[in-house]
Subunit: 268 residues, 2 copies
């Protein structure tokens, strides 16, 4: 059985040359969200589209996506532009178009791994293991949540209950089972429910405006991360209709796989 | 006397319509760095270019820039594309071209402030005030450093001395004096010396690959932030030729003005 994420990254090439491509893609019903698809699957699709281009060199290192308007369910075009290839890094611009609309723009940086100093400063949050945390979706009745199992160590959303801070820490695994790789981490990076829900205890209208993810491990490390990754994230400031979010995804052994940041819109 | 930053954001419009513009700009010698201009001034220029466009609505909320190759000293073109205007936010794509080269690409999001829940979670680091910290440039002999005064509370670069972590906290002000606003904060967001210098005590070849800044305050708050802002930043992981950096700039009163994240390249 093919995992829905792997189905979602199957594209038809409309045109392609050394530095550009247009791919025909489609939203996957398994990732339907409130309005349009889950932003994480869109991130996975755009990252995979670059990976699949014959000119791609190295591995994903950074991705920024701007969600300008909802992607409509159905087919869309992915546009890739290779801006620059250097010895150790490569810069791509990406965008989604749907008819006259451009619901997503962004960029992807690939880097070639080199032998350098290595050290991880970030420490794995000390929380109970996944088997000690109850499995429950963070919010109700969104189709894309069925692709993940969430086990909150702390910071679950509790309707009607305000909290002093917005931090959540949870174990996340794929359902059905799947290995981790850069596209699936790009997707998981957007798996946090809006931080404002935790802070105020209210289901504010909210959406990601801009999402940046840094891929800090190696493909081998992602593949051997095991079933669960530990997701830790919080906002630093809410106000004027926006909030930031900074988050980290660790392997259960403590490797920092990605750091991810976003600006979210909210009302109320 | 005009501050060099304000000189740097004077552009000549080559072409402009409702959704696009090409502006002729130039590097400013006061911001010369090792190779090409300081990345922060480039960020300020691209943000100011969007602000100056007649179609711009609201205030800067997010900026991502990808530094694909060094900007050459001299003139360059700034290309603006308005991708989408919504009720509360507006998405621009930006790029710099210099002849056949595209040394910088990126995006800028503007948002219109709305009356919502507001709360700041991030706390001002508890450090001595600027008058109690010695004024000294973080590294030697780079022209752009003359536009700032750095007063390190902790985490200065010490050649030959390794440290357990890469955190730096310093007070920063403009020299000559200037108020704070979104472009100058965009610039200051890139004022951190590479975190690898602090960690290993060695002057590694290093450069910013991708820079994202979220503007979390209001224009009034920036303007009234006072002379010094407190800059706190650290890496979370080094390895394979890249490192991340996450940082925050606070007013001396404790307002979180911007959060800023980058992926840096390094050797050695």
């Amino acid at each position: 059985m093919t995992h829905p994420l792997d189905e979602a990254v199957r594209f038809t090439t409309t045109s392609s040359d050394d530095s550009r491509a247009v791919l025909r893609a489609a939203t996957h019903p398994a990732y339907n969200n409130m309005v349009g698809p889950f932003g994480g699957i869109t991130a996975a699709q755009l990252l995979a589209a670059v990976q699949q281009h014959p000119a791609a060199q190295g591995n994903p290192a950074a991705q920024t996506l701007n969600y300008t308007s909802p992607v409509e369910y159905g087919e869309f075009d992915i546009h890739l532009e290779l801006v620059q290839t250097n010895n150790s890094n490569q810069h791509w611009n990406v965008r989604i178009t749907q008819g006259e609309s451009t619901p997503v723009t962004g960029s992807v940086v690939f880097t070639s791994e080199r032998d350098t100093f290595a050290h991880q400063e970030a420490r794995l949050p000390q929380v109970p293991g996944p088997e000690e945390c109850e499995s429950a979706p963070p919010v109700n009745d969104l189709r894309w949540l069925d692709n993940y199992e969430f086990r909150f160590a702390r910071g679950a959303y509790e309707l009607g209950r305000e909290h002093d801070d917005s931090e959540s820490v949870y174990w996340l695994r794929h359902t059905p089972s799947r290995h981790w790789d850069a596209p699936s981490l790009a997707s998981a990076a957007d798996s946090f429910f809006p931080r404002i829900f935790r802070r105020t205890g209210k289901p504010h209208p909210a959406a990601t405006i801009s999402l940046t993810t840094y891929f800090l491990g190696t493909p081998e490390e992602y593949a051997s991360a095991g079933e669960y990754v530990l997701c830790q994230g919080r906002a630093q400031r809410f106000g004027g209709g926006t909030a930031d979010q900074s988050a980290r995804l660790f392997s259960s052994e403590g490797h920092l796989l990605v750091s991810t940041h976003q600006l979210t819109y909210f009302r109320g």
